[in-house]
């Protein structure tokens, strides 16, 4: 969720990239599998190979739009003959939902108590199903792209 559309911002800055550093992190998708011959195996979900140019390096996702890759106002990167996969996870077999929307509501300053209308844009998705993680094993899981 962001006040300025991710789509608008990324499109404005495309091509201005530098290397994406390793300083970004998130607790995500750590999964543990059953013992395999006495060896505990762990893995994390891996990103989609497709990348969209970002300001600090490639971003592993498609903008929202029809899965056949046809032109869409929600994806200024154009058409994608290979298809527009809405999952952010690769080696995945399951159900996906996605929305690209604006919405408004009331924001409140927690110090002063002042309230004001506020608008967000979101590209939010869920993925639920099977995936092959970095441990090369098949897992079941659910994820949200927020």
């Amino acid at each position: 969720m962001v006040r300025l559309s991710r789509r608008a911002w990324l499109h404005r800055t495309m091509g201005a990239g530098a290397a994406l550093g390793s300083g970004l992190w998130a607790p995500n998708a750590a999964v543990a599998d059953d013992d395999d011959g006495g060896e505990k195996r762990c893995g994390v979900a891996l990103p989609l190979p497709h990348t969209t140019a970002g300001p600090f390096g490639p971003l592993h996702f498609y903008f929202p739009g029809p899965i056949d890759g046809s032109a869409s106002p929600t994806d200024a990167t154009g058409t994608h003959p290979e298809g527009r996969d809405p999952s952010t996870i690769t080696n995945f077999d399951g159900f996906v939902g996605g929305v690209d929307m604006n919405f408004s509501g009331m924001a409140r300053d927690r110090k002063t108590g002042v309230e004001a209308p506020y608008t967000f844009h979101t590209d939010s998705r869920f993925m639920i199903g099977d995936f092959i993680a970095s441990d090369q094993s098949r897992h079941k899981g659910a994820f949200a792209f927020l």
Partner: protein, 147 residues
Amino acid sequence: MGPHSYDPGTAPSLLLWTVDIPKGSVNIDLDRGEASLHLQNLCNLFDAFTVPNSLNPTHPLGLVSGFLRSLRIEWSGIKNVRSFNNGSTFRGHFLETSASIELVISSPSTKPPFTPSPQDGFEFVADPATSQTHFAQIGHESNGALF
């Protein structure tokens, strides 16, 4: 109120803005063209304030924990049905729908060194009636090694 932008960050694997959630958070019924995502009390996301600040490895605007008290997204109303198969890496069958969102989210007050300057805390409650869908879809897909 200043800018606010919530996401779970980018993983060392470069998995973007994606976080694992309880399997019970998702309900989907493709026969009826309906689905829902319901998350509560999610702490593992950040208020990065802006998208560029989220993507910048040095986070010049700072990075603080956000608290997603409740998020509910509902998909319904089939507008279009689309199937696609590229023959090698991706295939799917999706229903394009409308959607609505309910959200209650907050950020704590901050001060240096967590942000360049002090900021009051922020709370937001969405009005679901204002949901303006640009694109929404639900469906089933296979990709990569599970194609």
